[in-house]
């Protein structure tokens, strides 16, 4: 008896509490920047593709929904993906790819609205994934840290590098 009254009281008391229902989609909920939603590929501060096609995201992916192929740009020597494909119909938004990415290229965004009538429309190619900006990491540029040279950044010109040594010299 007491239990039923207590239940009634609890239910009725909610009449005077704030409504928890969110009027989605008219009203968008707040998403933290670190929310794990739709995946994007970002660009370096200089506007070039950040992805170097190292394949770490693909191997970290627990559902194996990322496939890509490395190629190299003739004119400047940068590695980049010839194609980069994410099958979002398989993706579980776990964020392992973002954690694995050594160049901050692949990032998860707060956009969680991924709905399609056709499953094949859930397959995103590089043109769908690549954005124009740097995403969450505005300053990082992998090629300025790496030792491999690209056009415009020779040996010894990366961060924390001495100028190239001379193999023919034994001077200290």
């Amino acid at each position: 008896m007491l239990s039923q009254i207590r239940t009634l009281w609890t239910v009725l008391s909610h009449t005077f509490k704030r409504n928890e229902t969110v009027q989605y989609p008219e009203e968008m909920p707040y998403q933290a920047p670190r929310y794990r939603g739709r995946i994007i590929l970002t660009r370096d501060p200089d506007g070039e593709e950040r992805c170097v096609a190292c394949n770490l995201c693909a191997v970290a992916c627990p559902v194996d929904c990322i496939a890509l192929q490395k190629t190299e740009r003739e004119e400047d020597g940068r590695w980049y993906p010839e194609f980069f494909r994410i099958n979002f119909s398989r993706c579980i938004m776990c964020g392992m790819c973002e954690e694995a990415c050594p160049t901050y290229a692949i990032q998860l965004t707060p956009d969680f609205e991924l709905c399609e009538y056709e499953r094949s429309n859930m397959v995103y190619e590089k043109e769908h994934l690549l954005i124009q900006g740097t995403g969450k990491y505005p300053d990082y540029s992998f090629w300025q840290v790496a030792g491999k040279t690209i056009e415009g950044k020779g040996k010894g010109e990366a961060q924390q590098e001495q100028s190239p040594s001379d193999p023919r010299s034994n001077l200290p």
Partner: protein, 905 residues
């Protein structure tokens, strides 16, 4: 054997073995860099530190380098001791001071020994805050990429390249913390084993350039065990695929054959598989050398009309097709209508090789046994071009004396610098009697310029001298030196080959080896065959020789040509006539001049797309397994043959490669099924072998652009492998079914030791392959007769020279090899050239070939003899005759083969 203790656990090893090798032989994890099983210890990297105790009461111990510590009875060491572990971690930290932040853009990443050792020792954060030392790289040619910043100064590269393989253009420069490994000046690495630097280098300084072009991480490759198609040695390889393309070939260890190394023709010659000159669709010839691609059904209709017609049907096999395909074709056309597809002269010489294998009187050595020879005579064959891996073993054979000297001096055999330093230039004697300077000349005791025919005579004379039937040679001559050395040796090795198409040369070499055996020596005879399956094809038998087959064709008949370009087997005029008069069905991998003249062309699977067996120079049957399923209408040749058979209404009695292999076993290849397990093999009775690694990525996205419904992975009904990551690869399975090496914590190819019984020993379940007994063939099949020497007139005797890059048919279509291929050349003695007014690099018209060649001068060429490049793509035949030469002032040297691109950073 000595008992010793690691961390209190008792182990046994050969006394005097180095501790690192002993620990690894027990499959213990002990980090190392500079030690290599074939290169010994130098103690350069200080990575394999252990704590060594005086006795069981010693609790403190001292640090020792395991690779420089000999195992002795009662030795007590600790790998796990924190002092040793801290020391190893510190060493890695030093090595990593200048290591660039390159792993994501490094071709070694994911199979990098440095990565593995860094993780194993626990070093993770770079504390050193100063700037990194950097280097400029060099362009090392089309095969090898160079990224010096990644170097950790282990010296493995120069120890392999210069000390082991005899290369002269890679060295160590600088001193202290500034060591540079490269060439004096930028340029192509010349040594034919440069590709091994990729596997020898523990990090990414030397990388596989063609592979890097379409780079795939090791974990993403779908692999299978394969056999090299480059020459008759039959080196074992791992072939690896991704996205329907064969991406690379790596060395697959075999204790008796290739060991840890393969040559560049094998490693970089596989790109023909992805060539755009592949035949991918069945086609019907429209008469002018072009084809109309049609569907399989319509092409088969045309083909089966030819097979069914009243016209006689003959079959031409091939020394580059598998035993199974050859046997299938022989069954289709009947033994009396089958030609194994070797050129007449080649068939006769290969027959002599098989007769030598069957004979008890001489021993055909494995590559490992070659290294144990104590005197070598090379007769009439430039083995460095025709069987490079065997030539590398000869280099080790002549070095054998240094180990004997070291033993006397009390230097352990693994003390690399000590052994080499003590021996200086002492070598076991190697004599070369052939035309042209061999790349082995730098380790030869003496050489004599000799035409192969003279080399045969010389060998017979030697045999008689050794048998005492002839008086000794005049003292001081080359012959006298050779006979004295051979008489003095314990395990002499006679080396020759079939490339000269000279059966009497092979017979003479055998007679010499036999006479040495009778004289009480453990003599050995190495005869290199021309192609990967020359011995196998020859053993298939059949009644027709190549000229008989061509004659039958010229009379008009239907002919099935199995993976063979007839223009490489006989003179172009006869082949033209034969192709014109007959209806030809060609099944081949690549477009060839023969296919151009055919009525029907069928797309045949390459070695990576099919399963089959090759028989190598020592009659060892070795199975290669399908790496991937080819796109389009490509089928293995034997499958086309069974389609043709069923069109004709006859039942071949096989519908899988396995049944066909069993059929081969009944037809002269007894035991061939033991070369590798069949489709019903399961590891531990339950598990297939996974072609893909357990980390294989992208399964649900690779083909999502075509369909989002992931196709079921193909069930492989023909082999024990799975086209998926499900299955075993622990190394405990049958050793012929190991598709790649990987072990927890050991991602690089250094994980091999976890798959070996002991370091440099066989695989866990023994080495794959089975040596066949060719006596059935010798009893039942017609023996090819010696080729008639062509009556030709001319001032010069000619000798074919087979350049390493370009003389093997399929690898010559591989783009990295094309960049190293020479233009057709003629080699002359400088005196002859001067007499004719020819200069190095100029042109000479060679009448027998009917074209002009580039002149090369070589004092190693006998006067009156001209060496002519043979085997290069095109319709040139090898001239076994005489020729006249005349200067060609209008000759323009084609500048192909030189790398034009400067590699970037």
């Amino acid at each position: 054997m000595a008992k010793f203790f690691i961390d209190g656990v008792e182990y046994e090893a050969k006394a005097g073995e180095n501790l690192l090798q002993a620990a690894l032989s027990q499959h213990l994890d002990l980090p190392y860099f500079c030690w290599h099983p074939s290169l010994g210890s130098v103690g350069a990297c200080r990575q394999c530190a252990v704590v060594e105790y005086r006795d069981e009461n010693d609790k403190k111990g001292r640090l020792s380098m395991a690779c420089l510590t000999g195992v002795r009875e009662g030795l007590r060491v600790s790998i796990a001791n924190s002092r040793a572990a801290d020391f190893r971690k510190t060493v890695i930290e030093w090595l990593m001071q200048n290591h660039p932040h390159d792993c994501p853009v490094c071709e070694e990443g994911g199979e990098c020994h440095l990565q593995d050792m860094t993780v194993m020792t626990g070093h993770s954060v770079r504390r050193y805050r100063q700037a990194k030392r950097t280097w400029q790289n060099q362009d090392l040619g089309p095969f090898i990429g160079h990224e010096m910043n990644r170097c950790i100064t282990c010296y493995r590269c120069v120890r392999f390249y210069a000390d082991y393989a005899g290369g002269t253009d890679l060295g160590a420069f600088g001193s202290r913390g500034r060591m540079y490994f490269g060439r004096v000046s930028e340029g192509t690495l010349e040594n034919e084993f440069s590709g091994n630097l990729v596997e020898v280098c523990p990090t990414g300084v030397f990388t596989d350039k063609p592979f890097a072009k379409q780079y795939t991480r090791k974990w993403d490759l779908q692999s299978s065990p394969s056999v090299c198609t480059g020459c008759s040695v039959g080196c074992n390889t791992f072939a690896a695929e991704r996205y329907g393309q064969l991406r690379r070939v790596h060395n697959r260890y075999h204790a008796d054959l290739n060991g840890y190394f393969i040559c560049d023709r094998g490693r970089f010659g596989m790109h023909f598989v992805n060539s755009d000159k592949r035949i991918r669709m069945g086609g019907v010839g429209v008469g002018d050398g072009t084809f109309e691609a049609r569907g399989t059904e319509r092409v088969l209709e045309t083909a089966s009309a030819l097979v069914r017609s009243d016209q006689a049907l003959i079959g031409i096999g091939s020394p580059r097709a598998s035993v199974e395909s050859n046997v299938a074709l022989k069954w289709l056309v009947g033994s009396e209508n089958f030609c194994p597809g070797l050129a007449d002269a080649d068939a006769a010489a290969t027959h002599e090789l098989i007769a030598s294998i069957a004979s008890d009187a001489c021993c055909i050595p494995t590559i490992a046994e070659i290294e144990r020879a104590d005197a070598v005579l090379v007769l009439g064959e430039d083995i460095a071009d025709t069987a490079p891996r065997a030539a590398l073993a000869l280099r080790q054979a002549v070095r054998g004396v240094s180990f004997a000297m070291a033993q006397e001096a009390g230097i352990p055999h693994w003390q690399d610098a000590g052994v080499r330093g003590h021996a200086q230039d002492h070598r076991h004697p190697l004599f070369i009697a052939c035309a042209g300077t061999s790349r082995l000349e730098d380790v030869a005791e003496a050489t004599e310029a000799m035409h192969p025919e003279d080399a045969a005579t010389f060998a017979l004379d030697l045999a008689e001298v050794i048998a005492g039937k002839r008086e000794a040679f005049e003292p001081g001559t080359f012959a006298a030196r050779v006979s004295a050395v051979l008489a003095d040796s314990k395990a002499p090795l006679v080396v020759s080959g079939t490339s000269q198409g000279n059966a009497s040369l092979v017979r003479a070499a055998r007679d010499l080896a036999v006479s040495l055996k009778i004289a009480g020596k453990q003599s050995m005879l190495l005869v290199a065959a021309r192609e990967a399956n020359s011995v196998g094809a020859c053993m298939v038998g059949g009644s027709l020789s190549m000229s008989e087959a061509l004659a039958r064709m010229a009379d008009g008949c239907s002919v099935v040509v199995l993976e063979n370009d007839l223009y490489r087997r006989a003179d172009a005029g006869r082949v033209n006539a034969a192709l014109r008069a007959s209806s030809v069905i060609v099944m081949d991998v690549l477009e060839t001049p023969t296919a151009d003249g055919a009525s029907v062309a069928l797309p045949a699977a390459s070695f990576a797309e099919s399963t089959g067996t090759y028989v190598n120079y020592e009659c060892r049957a070795q199975r290669f397994y399908q790496t991937f399923q080819p796109e389009g209408e490509i089928l293995p040749s034997w499958a086309w043959i069974s389609r043709l058979a069923s069109e004709r209404g006859s039942d071949p009695g096989w519908d899988s490669i396995e049944q066909l292999t069993r059929q081969c076993a009944e037809q002269g290849f007894a035991g061939i099924e033991q070369a590798g397990p069949g489709s019903d093999y399961r590891f531990a009775g339950i598990s297939r072998i996974a072609r893909q690694t357990h980390r294989y990525s992208g399964r649900t996205a690779m083909y999502a652009d075509e369909t989002v419904h992931e196709p079921k992975s193909r069930i492989d009904s023909e082999t024990a492998f799975a086209y998926s990551m499900e299955g075993a690869n622990s190394g405990r399975q049958a050793s012929a079914t190991i598709p790649y090496v990987w072990s927890p914590g050991w991602n690089s190819n250094q994980s091999l030791f976890k798959f070996q019984q002991e370091i440099s020993g066989p695989w866990m379940q023994g080495d794959p392959g089975v040596r066949l007994d060719p006596s059935w063939y010798l009893r039942h099949e017609a023996h090819p007769s010696d080729a008639e020497s062509l009556a030709a007139e001319g001032e010069f005797r000619s000798v074919p020279i087979f350049p390493l890059f370009g003389s093997e048919e399929q690898s010559a279509r591989s783009w990295p090899i094309v960049r190293r291929m020479p233009a057709p050349f003629a080699v002359l003695h400088p005196q002859d050239a001067a007499r004719l007014g020819l200069v190095e690099g100029g042109g000479v018209a060679v009448l027998a070939v009917g074209r002009s060649c580039e002149v090369r001068l070589d004092a190693g060429m006998p006067p009156g003899v001209v060496g002519i490049a043979a085997g290069l793509p095109g319709k040139d035949v090898q001239p076994h005759c005489r020729t006249d030469l005349s200067p060609d002032p209008e000759f323009v040297r084609k500048m192909d083969g030189e790398p034009g691109v400067i590699a970037r950073g």
